[in-house]
Symmetry: C2
Subunit: 202 residues, 2 copies
């Protein structure tokens, strides 16, 4: 299809598509003349992925790029892509050091749940940092609350992982999309549950 | 305490504190001379709240301001503040319209779970939009997966709400802080659970 049809079918404005092409986020089409290129379903799917990562997951373009590079790198296994996606997704990667005490709390939790976390993953210190922030606001999370959160996380992860396709490319995309685009679903549902509970108490 | 001590105790740079004062995010101290003001624990606590909302929850300053105004408005009940915080937190408030079909799916889910959601809340259309994005990427969420997510959300909301303090100001702050700052905890734990499950399958 021509670029105009790609725009029509994806709902993404022509200028935006051209920007993604220039930025290398979207692979170039096959040249059919000196000034025209042809696009296919791979482009359409990639375009939808980019828009969802931007609009639904709220990612900045440089993060989108980082995730797409990992998705496209067939030397990376699913586990590595997931680790890399997690590394790049931290809203607070540039934040202050965390205390040994909070890291201990995280490690104790991981051990309690028997969870093995990717070596390069920033998740341990991110969690320690989130707990530290709650402490410093005098809203510490109790072990009971943390375990309830971990149980909920384990339940949804179990459903997510059980539904991964067998094919590598599909599985990688599903894992990344699943991590990113199902996050809002979980957060929105949690807020709905909050409002529902809070309305009942009023 | 003087502003220098406020900076030392909060770990927030002096220039940042002055910026928050100018922007009205932090209430002015009590003037003790023509050029000096005195600050107290209320300022310290507010400062920590702002930093956490920015650093941990990743909110933009105008969203922080909107949340703080609601927290400070004692005419708003806890349920209203929560609704307003939710309204302001949408990463994709400016997004395209959602289909009636997806909204139906959301309403069916809400009815299935008996959840009443705040009238002005954008959560319904946000959820429909998230589901639509997953559909358009050929990664639709099954009813089974959605129910697993809703169950997890209900579990954590139940723990959160059961721990709210009785006092209005405390309850409002706890509800907002709890919604915002416990979100990263849930997401990080979900990613950890993903990595742990994914490592086991490799």
């Amino acid at each position: 299809m021509r670029i105009a049809e790609l725009a029509a079918r994806s709902g993404v404005p022509l200028a935006t598509i051209k920007f993604y092409l220039r930025e290398g986020l979207l692979p170039r089409g096959e040249l059919t003349s000196r000034t025209q290129a042809s696009y296919n379903d791979v482009h359409l799917r990639r375009l939808r992925l980019i828009r969802s990562l931007v609009e639904v997951a709220g990612l900045r373009l440089e993060v989108v790029r980082y995730v797409l590079v990992a998705v496209d790198d067939s030397s990376l296994g699913r586990h590595d892509v997931l680790g890399r996606a997690h590394t790049s997704l931290s809203p607070s990667a540039s934040s202050p050091a965390v205390s040994a005490e909070d890291l201990d709390m995280v490690d104790t939790l991981l051990a309690r749940w028997g969870w093995q976390v990717h070596g390069a993953s920033p998740l341990r210190s991110l969690l320690a940092q989130a707990l530290q922030a709650l402490d410093s606001l005098s809203h510490p999370m109790s072990d009971e609350a943390l375990d309830a959160y971990a149980a909920a996380a384990a339940d949804v992860a179990s459903v997510d992982v059980s539904q991964l396709p067998a094919d590598r490319t599909d599985a990688v995309e599903t894992a990344v999309v699943g991590t990113l685009l199902r996050e809002p679903v979980l957060l929105i549902l949690r807020r709905m549950a909050h409002e529902a509970r809070s309305a009942r108490r009023v």
